[in-house]
Symmetry: C2
Subunit: 462 residues, 2 copies
Amino acid sequence: MQPEVYGADDFLASAMVSKSPLTLDAGAFLKEREVSASYEVERAPLGTLPKWHLGDRLSHASGRFFTVEGLSIRTDFGPVPHWCQPIIVQPEIGILGILVKRIDGVLHFLMQAKMEPGNSTLVQYATTVQATPSNYQRVHGGRSTPYLEYFMEGTRRRVLFDQLLSEHGFWYLYKRNRNMIVEVPEDEDLPVESDFTWLTLGQLRHQLMLGNRVNMNARTVLSGISYGAADSDRLPCAEQSDGFHAELLKSHRTLRSAADLSGVLTWLIDQKAKFSSDVRRTSLRDMDEWICDADSIRHRDGRYFDIIGMSIQATSREVGTWWQPSLEPRAGNVVALICQRRAGVLRFLVQAMVQPGLTDRLELAPSVQFSPGYHRGPQDFPPLTEYLDAPESWIRLKAVQSEDGGRFFRADTLHLVVELPEDHEIEAPDNYRWMTLALLNRMTHFGYHVNVEARSLAACLL
Amino acid sequence: MQPEVYGADDFLASAMVSKSPLTLDAGAFLKEREVSASYEVERAPLGTLPKWHLGDRLSHASGRFFTVEGLSIRTDFGPVPHWCQPIIVQPEIGILGILVKRIDGVLHFLMQAKMEPGNSTLVQYATTVQATPSNYQRVHGGRSTPYLEYFMEGTRRRVLFDQLLSEHGFWYLYKRNRNMIVEVPEDEDLPVESDFTWLTLGQLRHQLMLGNRVNMNARTVLSGISYGAADSDRLPCAEQSDGFHAELLKSHRTLRSAADLSGVLTWLIDQKAKFSSDVRRTSLRDMDEWICDADSIRHRDGRYFDIIGMSIQATSREVGTWWQPSLEPRAGNVVALICQRRAGVLRFLVQAMVQPGLTDRLELAPSVQFSPGYHRGPQDFPPLTEYLDAPESWIRLKAVQSEDGGRFFRADTLHLVVELPEDHEIEAPDNYRWMTLALLNRMTHFGYHVNVEARSLAACLL
């Protein structure tokens, strides 16, 4: 919903710089951090979690953090008209903020190597700040969050991106965080705390392609980056890009006409009017088919996901040991974007997808969003699932990325980008639409229009 | 959220035309329609409403229409941290659409003289189409909705405005309708059905200033009209406007810089992060302080509003008699916009206001939104209430407008616009902000950013 694109040229230039004297080896920096502290993360029965109580909902004695509640969903989207599931409720708006600064003429991103207990790869690059209101509003003891002040009212420098964006609509009820990119002036002194380092966008792109190196929160913020529109086919940096990346840049920089944009918005409202969704919170105890006991909350047939306990022991941190509930999805989540050169520009197939926890019923989702726990079997598989087995030569990205390891346990999602040959014909239902990256990015800037799964893929296409 | 302003010049030109050969007397047309059919509208005990059942919620046997449910609200916005109230739940997205067409060089609006049982003035100008999904999706018997096809997917002409906008956040849970303005080409033949007539925007403006002539649904759609930005102080039509209207036009046509807009959006997110709001649906039976019986649903101290039954007898319509529940507010609702010339342009003081039924916690609201039912007494009155008693010479608009008479019973709201002298100093809390009409209109185009009370006032400032 930003009115225009800020910092576009600087972002693009930084994306083309794959080395920086400030962080010679971005992979090694992560590794160092990982070995400098060791953690033991284990599953624990819900009943053993101190101060967490399982009743009509699962909640903490202090009333803080989050709750897990029951949800009853009725919708005419997809093959299942009615189901119940637990869902995480956390109405607070947190800040996910990245500080950027032009150093030696190149925009650098201040990234934090951060441990998240639920991730398969424990330490990954995170945003400069991940802060909840309890960090930033209330006065409380303990270490303050470094760099937080740069994202607070009245003390910000130049805001390049600032938007409330949704998170996993199957796991969270109406969850959103504030995604920000704030630029610090070149001449402002900014000490680099331990665990933090400066990376160019080119370095981040490389880490993103490797997978499991850039955490979910960082990916959603990075998806807000725009490269601006180019007037001609000639891209200033094309010579530095391989073929597919040059195509991506062109798709990012294609001019969006007002009519295109207005057409997409009207089409999206059509989809919202077409599909119904009625969502009601219920007691965990009232969910048919679900078992809630001292061990976990789980579906009787092993579907959807489990709510489990997690114990975390950090050997070298002041916090020591802590416990928390966590959501463990069924293994095998895949998100895929199908793309194709159409009318000379790479376009991506997105779908308008209803998810129970979304703020306004539906958002744009990847071409395929495949969650084994949600499908009773092949008869329930979503359209286009067959493209997950596309020939190797069509695959442009194949990387496992982790979801928020602060809430989810080993939630690894395979990210795929599949490029169809230009002469391949594909048929998709009416709630699917082809978009350039420029248009998709513009929709991200509008707020609740692009879901976190699609944004996560978009971050891998910078 | 429209990317740019469509039809701006045509709208402005139409606003300056106060007479049209197509409808010589807009007031007389309404009067004729009113006498051509007579209605008797009476209060009826809830228990006598056929097919409506009062249990944990109030619902229709068919599952259609809407339900009235209980709501429990906790918020740190305003003086009351916790309360319960009934709320209308109607998740369907209806279409509120106005057809416009250039006739003899002037844009005309096809308005319907429509009876709504709850209104004090029964027949008012309504949008060309007010349709729910049961009208436009399902095949069913009965008269089809005239002109509906012009608003449907694939058959629209030129879409000038299309946005999902919220409705009364104290009375509806997450309610929104699709607000549309669609232009029909000049050469397209469009028969005018009985009860319909063509008005210029100038004629509509006059009806709006009189009060109780243009219904709520029409007002919210009209609030989407933009006049576009003027490059200089000189307004093409200024000579035809009185002093205050010329000031309004200038405020409408002031260029909005990208920085202004982005500043407002960031400030609004600040407000969303600052205030909490936790809303839970409950059984009507679980609401302390509320009485639910065969007569009505009402607060034990007579606060908030009542849910009553309404019987409607139409003497000349095929429908004959029908019954429905209705919400009757306490009398005395006032909404006021305070404005002042600041830096040479008229600016309006709006507030970021939490309301329990809003989709995303808060939206921009009028300077004062005064609902007697919600205040326990003067100690609860909202900031700036004293300006409701501003000297007569400061008052620029004073008109009673009705809320949706299809749902609400005698919900009349006094609309006030108060212009402060330039040297008058006013202090408002941090969640208040001055905006030109141009900026406020831009926020309306973004979707869930301007509440229906503020939009209703904005429609009176065209």
